[in-house]
Amino acid sequence: MAGLSSRHRSLLLLLGVVLLQVLLLAVQIKRDSQGRLIRVWTVSAVSPVERSGAWGVGKIRDAWRHYFALSDTARQNEQLRRENGELKLEIMQLQGKSAEADRLAALLKFKEKQNKVPMVAARVIGSSADPNSNVIYIGQGQRDGIRKNMGVITPEGVVGKVIEAYRDTSQVLVVTDRDSGVGAMIADSRIQSPVGGSGDPLLNMKYVGNDDEVAVGARVVTSGMDRIFPKDLPVGIITQVKPGGQYKQIRVKPSANLEKLEEVIVLLTTDPVVLKQEPAPRASSSSAAPANARGNSTSQPTSAANAAKPSDKRP
């Protein structure tokens, strides 16, 4: 203050006194909506600084966390990756168990329904080492009553037959194998003909004469004539019908999901049995049959003898 002139001193004094009185006014004034004016001023003056400070601190903190303090982040990242992997594995296991539970529930339902038919559920434990043969191994064998030539099915349809029974394991020839065959018939027309594998996912229905009327979409069921599978068990759906030299060339898509077999049912008898049938799905056959019927031979029910036509691949 010593260096200031008298005029400047008085000017500073003026400003100081006026400011003090303004503050005095502000302390007294209370606005209805915002409270005391001094509080409004203080908040208005301080809040931008606080906002700027918070923004700056946030940026610095983010920069520190994202660019400098990464040693802990790397460890956390590794831990999270590990946990993520474990969780994915757990989810896959749970999904698998859920699917397995569904399948087992279907098997159980089927078994309960067919309670008069001796059968045992078995888990598929392996497949053939030969890519050209469709053979699977199941986890039940002679100790569970399984014998050679017993039928293997799922609730959806025919799977194959036991070709070897060991103490705790059995070998099953799947119907899609070249050497496999099932006594079958077309469900609606009752035309009988064995169905055999060709090495690919589809089956061939053999010995249906060109004069027989066969529709795409028609259901194929077991005829029971092979004395392995009970009658009227689903085999598949006809997907293709072509006229051949002596017999029609008919392709059948298996009803059972033979690509993903995990649990199967072994029929513990080679005696003829009768299964209770599920209501037949007719929608696909009814829609496809008429169109196909026009382009194919006329209907002529085949006798039971057709099922016994010469075949070296019959089960």
Binding site: S6, R7, R9, S10, L11, L13, L14, V17, V18, Q21, V22, L24, L25, A26, Q28, I29, R31, L37
Partner: protein
Amino acid sequence: MNEAYDLRVGESHIEVHKFHTGTILLSLLIAVVLQSFLPVYISKAGILDLPLLITIYFGLSRRNPSTGLLFGTIIGLLQDSLSKTPLGLFGIAKTIIGYLASSIGARLDTEHPLARFALTGAFFALHQGIVILVQKLLLAQPQPWFTMRLLVACAVNATLGVFIYYLLDRLRKS
């Protein structure tokens, strides 16, 4: 210290007046009391601003800005205290008027009645302007900047000021 002396500003000689002991304090009290007392009995007296006239007079006479603004502050706060306005409304206005009056009084010869009339009128208008500004900004009380009443009050106070200043001149130490 009781004698009048010359304040040299540039080439001009401005006389600084001194007053008898207690004159300023007594004048201040009388002005504040009358300001709150007269309107009770004379409603038209509300148009007067005696504390302002006293502030202007002693500011012009003492010619010390620091003294002038502090005098204005005190008389303004006293006026606020006796009114329902928040403390500081007249205090701010009279502080500024006290400062300006002292500053102008140190530069100009304000002994002539016409000069006093003009200065008092100008200071009154400025004082009212400051009061209205503070009322608008701080108190959120909308007030018109100009009314005929203000104009009349300005003329009346300026005229009255000339007479009051004449009386107060009698209290100077010569």
